[in-house]
């Protein structure tokens, strides 16, 4: 078997910004002293006059982005998820969300796959925080192709958008000629009749792996990739729940407030079925190699497989 191409979605973010910058003069990129890590450094190289380093001051950066957007620019404010959604939550809420300004937030280093930096930098709460802000679009792409598409979609969308990217290189899974990114639309990656597994971000690849293992044991899982956590594709989620009767959610995020909660919010009203939420179980992460951490916290293919199997027993 040939080696699967792997790329971190933060790389995709930087590359997509360069493409966007070529097409659109109004794109400006902000960073907070992390241009090498968030990968906006490639944009800085291509368009130095449109890359603004705000230094280590994320709260101010969100306000600068807000102000720039009122002057006709389309700012992409970039930093780690911890600081974008965490530290600057209130600035995002009040200076960007409340006035519904056309600001895009590129949050890299989401989840435990940050790895060695440990719990202080592993943000497992950003989806929960961002999706509570009225009018905020929350995107969580699964691979390079989807990440680049989501940057483009974020630009085209009028209003605030939060984009979640990872540090770890992940397999390209959407490399097919008919791939199309539609904001707010979930993607069925695998049909199945026994259970629906709804997943997002880097867990999509692992979930597909788990689905194959489950199939070998006679459990036929439908797999849905949710790249747009808000607005959620409720229609697809509800239909799948009704179809399979059981739902599992998988995310590299706390099970409190993330994709699992968003799915439950939709299902409890329209299709109450048993839901198993796989994710960070109300705990902080820790230092370690990213892949080892995903294994330890049950978010790799094997971990997901075991938990779904147990749920189905």
């Amino acid at each position: 078997m040939s080696e699967v191409k792997k790329i971190a979605t933060r790389e995709s973010y930087g590359n997509a910004l360069v493409e966007l910058g070529k097409e659109h003069e109004d794109v400006v990129v902000l960073d907070a002293d992390l241009a090498e890590a968030t990968k906006t450094g490639v944009f800085r190289k291509a368009f130095p006059e449109r890359h603004i380093d705000c230094g280590i001051a994320e709260s101010n950066m969100m306000g600068i982005a807000a102000g720039l957007s009122t002057a006709g620019k389309v700012p992409f404010a970039s930093t780690f998820a911890m600081f974008a959604a965490g530290r600057a939550f209130e600035q995002v809420r009040n200076s960007i969300g409340y006035p519904h300004l056309n600001v895009k937030i590129g949050a890299t280093h989401a989840g435990i796959s940050v790895g060695e930096d440990g719990a202080s930098h592993q943000c497992n709460e950003d989806i929960a925080l961002m999706r509570t802000i009225p009018g905020m679009v929350v995107l969580s792409p699964s691979d390079d192709i989807e990440a680049r598409a989501c940057v483009k979609a974020a630009y085209e969308h009028q209003g605030p958008v939060y984009m979640r990217f990872g540090r770890l290189a992940v397999p390209v899974i959407n490399d097919r000629p008919d791939y199309k990114f539609e904001l707010g639309k979930g993607v069925v990656l695998r049909e199945g009749k026994d259970v629906t597994i709804i997943t997002t971000g880097l867990c999509v690849g692992y979930t597909l792996e788990a689905a194959e293992k489950l199939a070998a044991e006679g459990i036929d899982a439908k797999v849905i990739n949710i790249h747009t956590i808000k607005p959620l594709d409720e229609e697809l989620v509800v239909a799948a729940a009704k179809e399979t009767g059981k739902v599992v959610t998988v995310e590299e995020h706390s099970v409190i407030g993330g994709l699992g909660s968003a799915v439950c919010d939709a299902l409890c009203e329209k299709a109450p079925v048993p839901v198993k939420k796989i994710g960070m179980q109300d705990v902080f992460g820790e230092s370690g190699p990213a892949v080892a951490l995903l294994q330890k916290y049950g978010l790799d293919g094997e971990g997901i497989y075991c938990q779904v199997k147990e749920f189905m027993a």
Partner: protein, 279 residues
């Protein structure tokens, strides 16, 4: 406008502030009244704005970073013709577009939503940077409270504005000396304010009496001559200015006058208006 006309205009704006807060039965008269001359000077003399075209991309911008003094901004905008003055009586009412704090989505003339202290100056700096990037020559003004500058974000923004040489940005500090819990220097002193902004590479202008139009005119004229750095105008003002029982009283930071107090306040302002007409 000459100074006398500005004074008369400010007096009318004060009536709007008092009427609005009285009708709302809540709001922040003290810091609205201390900054009335600043609001008046900006909207009637300094800024290039047109109430008929409030979204003109080339207009000058104003961000009320001390957003709780919305009554001052709203009364000024109404006086300038952005919306009817009688709407001030709907301030803070359910269904009114005049929200408790500035709301750019619904209020003509409001350039930025604000209210959570410390955030407005960042947005203003972003606007000023936007002008530079877009090769536009509009200027950006933002008004901060002297208590507000205890917020750390103010200094993040100040560092940014100084570092990026935003000479189209004017930061005004309404130095009325009082915040909710008492005198600013007793609560958590921000002094020396001028030296702090100087250290962040601002051109600093101290205005001894920020309720005096001639002094404000001199300061804003000087700010226009500054190149390569932002300007901070530290304006010493009187909280509650113009309403006898509110002047320099911390209790009137965020309280509405009752009917009787409202009557006295309006009498004070009527008298002040008559005195100006004698001039």
């Amino acid at each position: 406008m000459n100074t006398l006309e500005l004074q008369k205009t400010a007096n009318e704006i004060r009536k709007g502030i008092v009427s609005g807060v009285h009708a709302a039965k809540a709001g922040h008269p003290g810091g609205s009244l201390s900054a009335t001359e600043i609001f008046t000077y900006l909207y009637f003399e300094e800024m290039n704005v047109d109430p008929e075209n409030p979204k003109d991309p080339d207009r000058d911008r104003f961000v009320l970073s001390k957003g709780h003094t919305a009554p001052g901004l709203y009364a000024t905008l109404a006086q300038r013709g952005y919306f009817p003055k009688e709407d001030l009586l709907t301030l803070r009412h359910l269904g009114s577009y005049l929200q408790g704090h500035p709301d750019m989505k619904h209020i003509p003339g409001v350039d930025m939503s604000s209210g959570s202290l410390g955030q407005g100056i960042s947005a203003a700096a972003g606007m000023a940077l936007g002008a530079k990037l877009g090769q536009k020559d509009f200027r950006v003004y933002t008004l901060l409270g002297d208590g507000e500058i205890q917020e750390g974000q103010v200094w993040e923004a100040a560092m940014f504005a100084g570092a990026k040489n935003l000479d189209n940005l004017v930061v005004i500090v309404d130095n009325n000396g009082l915040q909710i819990d008492g005198p600013v220097d007793k609560v958590n002193t921000p002094y020396p304010i001028d030296k702090k902004f100087e250290a962040f590479n601002f051109h600093v202008i101290n205005v001894a009496d920020g309720n005096d139009f001639d002094q404000l005119r001199a300061a804003f004229d000087e700010a226009r001559t500054v190149k390569g750095m932002p300007t901070a105008i530290i304006a010493k003002t009187l909280k509650g200015k113009g309403v006898s029982f509110m002047e320099n009283q911390v209790g009137w930071h965020g309280k509405a006058p009752n009917d009787e107090e409202y009557k006295i306040a309006m009498e004070d302002l009527e008298k002040a208006g008559e005195a100006l007409c004698q001039k």
